[in-house]
Amino acid sequence: MTNTVGVSNGRVLVALIADTFQEARARWLFWGLFALSTLLILLFLFVLKIDLVEGAVSLFGVESTTRMVDIHRFVITSYSWVSVVLYIWGTFLAIFASSGLIPSVLEPGRIALLLSKPVTRPMLLMGRYIGNVLIVGANHAYLICTIWLVIGVKTGIWEGRFLLSIAASLFIFSVLLCVVVFVGVVSESAALSVMVSVAIMLISTILGQRQLVVRLLSSEWSRQLWQALYWVVPKVYDLAAALRQLIVYDREADWFTPVWTSAIFGVAVLSAALYIFKRRDF
């Protein structure tokens, strides 16, 4: 019996994830995200030419410099640039593209039918969430792995640490997607989901400057408030800084604190979304 239920739950989860993929496939926003990734890959594949013998780099067929370029440094700079683009803009675009996937499930004539099936409410929401993370993960992996391959083949430099940017970008997207899910469940508004998620990204970046800001703040309570807020919100800025440290300088950074505090934020927000979703009337 338990086994039957387990098989059935697995089947349901796979069906919900596959449905999320199909809905994403029908949305132009996801195709736009994929197209931008492809465009970036094509830039490295065709436009950027690296002459290993002479050490020259040309863009659009025009040599950018006449002096010899340190190819290794150029590769690391490229990695850093792509990682930052993916981490900030990729996450933003992924949130924008994903924001409609939760409210669409909550449309009155659709949710009533889904809820009539022998599926628990948390399973319905988690199927969407996991499907969404997998779609964005697939896009991130496609972008980073292909660029890594292109640069590796062109230069012979294979720096595996660049691939960590997939995990970092996907992690921060997963955390912010919890906010999208929460706002989606509460308000059923895709636009509000984007607004709140982007606001949290921005606030997190500002709060990340705490070393500087805390010194500038005059009162003790405002310093404590700043510190408290810093610990509550996901560490978008700190993770980006740690990623850059690793890629550019190959230095071990403090990953642990930003990851666990952000993960706790994500789990708490997602749990709240599941709790509200479980108790809502449709």
Binding site: Q22, A26, G109, A112, L115, S116, P118, V119, F282
Partner: protein, 334 residues
């Protein structure tokens, strides 16, 4: 039906008073003192959509839930399916707590104003909902062509849903509800917005389920549709149960019409005193309407005792519409 009514029917069945059709080994649906109160967020105002509703649907019957707009029908159905959480009371599906996901496994549901995912094809949609209903891939692959054929959508399986007409969508919705061979089919306004031909097709598909043991629960405001298809009916009004019973029993029993001639003035007066209505016909005959069988026999005794001739006696039946209007008016008056 109330539990007591069902228990009485079972007892009568043991005595051989009622047909086996009444007999239900199990209830497909049970609602006990179900209430739903909506509270407005800011003002704190309360609106009772469903109040203290107790209703049992025996297994294998065709049951119609009627009521004017806003009577609480859809809220009631959604509470059965756990889309709406009851304020108080309990609901059971085949004896299991309706709030459990497993309890909904034997249920096929077609919602009112459904929105099927337009990015899917007809076959894709059936595949998705089949998987959610617990069917394996091989079962789904076998079942989908069967159902598309059943609902007359052969050749449309690979076409995106957004190209479907309203009637086709409704038939596809019905196929979706039937994909896992449910024991209970709940249809919320199944023919709403469908043209007469489409309605007929849907009715034919539903008639095809007769004798399969599937309980069909139809929520509708179309009285003729319910009257022609269902065995039992419950009428909701202002969130409460106004009337329930077997349709044949409800539409009967509105009285008897007796036509008699050769009546003296004294007999005529005596009859008019007993009658709900009296009317002189051509040829000197008098037609009276009496409410009960006892009153009809009493009137016949008066006619025969006065030397009159009985030309005809017939049982008067009313339409479900009459029953509906009467029930909702009485409820309003109460």
């Amino acid at each position: 039906m109330q539990r007591e009514d069902i228990a009485l029917m079972k007892e009568q069945n043991v005595r051989g008073d009622v047909s086996l059709e009444y007999m239900a080994t199990e209830y497909a649906l049970e609602a006990e003192s179900l209430c739903k109160v909506y509270r407005s967020r800011w003002r704190g105002r309360e609106i009772a959509a469903v109040s203290n509703l107790t209703l049992c649907v025996p297994e294998g019957v065709k049951f119609g839930l009627l009521g004017p707009n806003g009577a609480g029908k859809t809220t009631f159905v959604k509470m059965l399916l756990s889309a709406v959480i009851p304020t108080s009371g309990a609901a059971k599906i085949f004896g299991r707590d309706a709030s459990l996901a497993e309890a909904r496994r034997p249920v096929g549901y077609l919602p009112e104003n459904h929105r099927f995912p337009t990015y899917l094809s007809g076959a894709g949609m059936l595949d998705f909902y089949g998987a959610l209903s617990g069917l394996g891939r091989s079962e789904r692959n076998a079942r989908i062509p069967e159902l598309l054929k059943l609902v007359g959508l052969e050749g449309w399986g690979d076409v995106r849903i957004k190209k479907y007409s309203k009637g086709m969508l409704q038939r596809l919705g019905l196929a979706q509800a039937l994909i896992h061979r449910p024991r209970l089919l709940i249809l919320d306004e199944p023919t709403d917005g469908v043209d007469p031909v489409g309605r007929r097709e849907i009715r034919d598909i539903l008639n095809g389920l007769t004798g399969t043991g599937v309980t069909v629960f139809i929520n509708s405001h179309l009285l003729a549709e319910v009257e022609s298809f269902c065995d039992y009916v419950a009428i909701l009004h202002h969130g409460t149960l106004a009337l329930q019973g077997r349709i044949s029993a409800l539409v009967m029993g509105s009285g008897y019409a007796i036509t008699a001639s050769g009546l003296t003035d004294a007999v005529s007066v005596a009859l008019q005193e007993r009658a709900l209505a009296a009317q002189r016909n051509g040829g000197g005959s008098l037609e009276i309407r009496v409410p009960t069988l006892e009153a009809a026999n009493d009137a016949i005794d008066v006619i025969r005792g006065g030397g009159g001739l009985i030309e005809s006696v017939r049982s008067e039946s009313s339409s479900l519409e009459d029953v509906f209007i009467k029930a909702t008016r009485q409820e309003r008056a109460a």
